[in-house]
């Protein structure tokens, strides 16, 4: 190897490292930026309806002041799931910029059932993974819960229910066309 070749390899290595730091850094930076509530509510679709509704609920206002932001529930924490979700979000960008499917409160309302069902399905499929980032059923002290909550949580463990089976519409308004009185985990009275 001549000294010229050596120099060449060395500079390629240095450039590679610097480029790597810049690319990886900006990728992470972009991930972090798009994972903030400010980013979510920079679109009026999110700011005017779901975020507005969230503010009335216990996940925004409560006794201890611990609160959940949009990504806490809607973006997975684990890296691989997070990246998958980010790629899926391109669909949301498409509808925001191209079709404008939910760009008025009326259009949002018309789509609400469909949108809610999408989120419910995802949460059901992941066994309510995002809920469990904070709410661990193993750490629940049933003695300190109300009797009816404790009973139902014990039943949920026994029968393998997931959070979203019962807790629908806790952070946003329920959609028209969904009847809480017809929905029960395990389906109605046979249980």
């Amino acid at each position: 190897m001549t000294s010229g070749q050596k120099k060449g390899t060395f500079s390629v290595l240095i450039i590679g490292i610097i480029l790597g730091i810049i690319l990886w850094g900006s990728f992470n930076w972009a991930m972090a930026i798009t994972n903030t509530e400010e980013f979510c509510i920079s679109c009026h679709e999110m700011r005017d309806t779901p975020f507005e509704e969230l503010q009335d609920t216990i996940h925004y206002t409560n006794r201890t002041g611990v609160r959940a932001t949009c990504p806490d529930c809607h973006v997975p924490k684990e890296w691989i799931h997070k990246v998958v979700r980010k790629i899926q979000a391109s669909r949301e960008l498409y509808h925001h910029f191209i079709t404008g499917d939910i760009d008025t409160p009326e259009k949002y309302e018309a789509k609400r059932l469909h949108l809610a069902q999408n989120v419910w399905r995802t949460m059901k499929n992941t066994d309510s993974r995002e809920c469990r980032n904070c709410h661990d059923i193993e750490s629940m002290d049933f003695e300190r819960q109300e009797t009816r909550s404790a009973d139902r949580h014990e039943e949920a463990i026994d029968k393998g229910y997931t959070c979203i089976d019962c807790h629908k519409g806790i952070a946003h308004a329920l959609p028209e066309g969904y009847d809480p009185g017809e929905d029960a985990p395990g389906g109605g009275n046979e249980g």
Binding site: E146, E176, P180, E182, A184
Partner: protein, 145 residues
């Protein structure tokens, strides 16, 4: 001259009336107490909603049962009724909760309906949460035993 007498009479009458109302005002003790009308009202006393297993005893037979639990997380809107999550015909057994009364499925003409009648849709118009509050006015009400 006649006019002067008339005016002074009227003034005297007016004085009598206003004088009376002033004394009357002092006699009335309103629930608001001595709080100045133009000032801000007293802060509401914080009270916890009572959770009571098995529910509350009714005071008379046709009294709408009182709600023995918190309801702040359930919403009743034109689109959905959160109370039905547990009290609907389909879910009540599973949730071990009382079912919506049969009377709630009747239209005003007495016709049986499939769904809760719109007259009975807004549960909290009749069914109220309870707090452990002292009665504002002393009374001797005793429920029908």
């Amino acid at each position: 001259m006649k006019k002067i007498i008339q005016i002074s009479l009227a003034a005297f009458g007016l004085l009598l009336i206003t004088g009376n109302t002033v004394t009357a005002k002092e006699d009335i003790a309103s629930l608001r107490g001595t709080t100045d009308l133009s000032g801000p009202s007293l802060k509401a006393v914080k009270q916890k909603v009572i959770s009571q297993e098995g529910g509350f005893e009714r005071s008379y037979k046709q009294q709408p049962p009182m709600v023995p639990h918190k309801v702040d997380k359930y919403k009743i809107t034109l689109k959905n009724n959160g109370c039905m999550k547990c009290h609907s015909k389909k879910n009540y057994k599973k949730e071990k909760s009382p079912m919506v009364g049969e009377s709630h499925f009747l239209s005003r003409d007495g016709k049986k309906l499939q769904k809760v009648s719109s007259r009975r849709y807004f549960c909290d118009q009749c069914h109220a949460i309870q707090i452990d509050a002292k009665p504002l006015v002393k009374n001797e009400f005793d429920g029908l035993k």
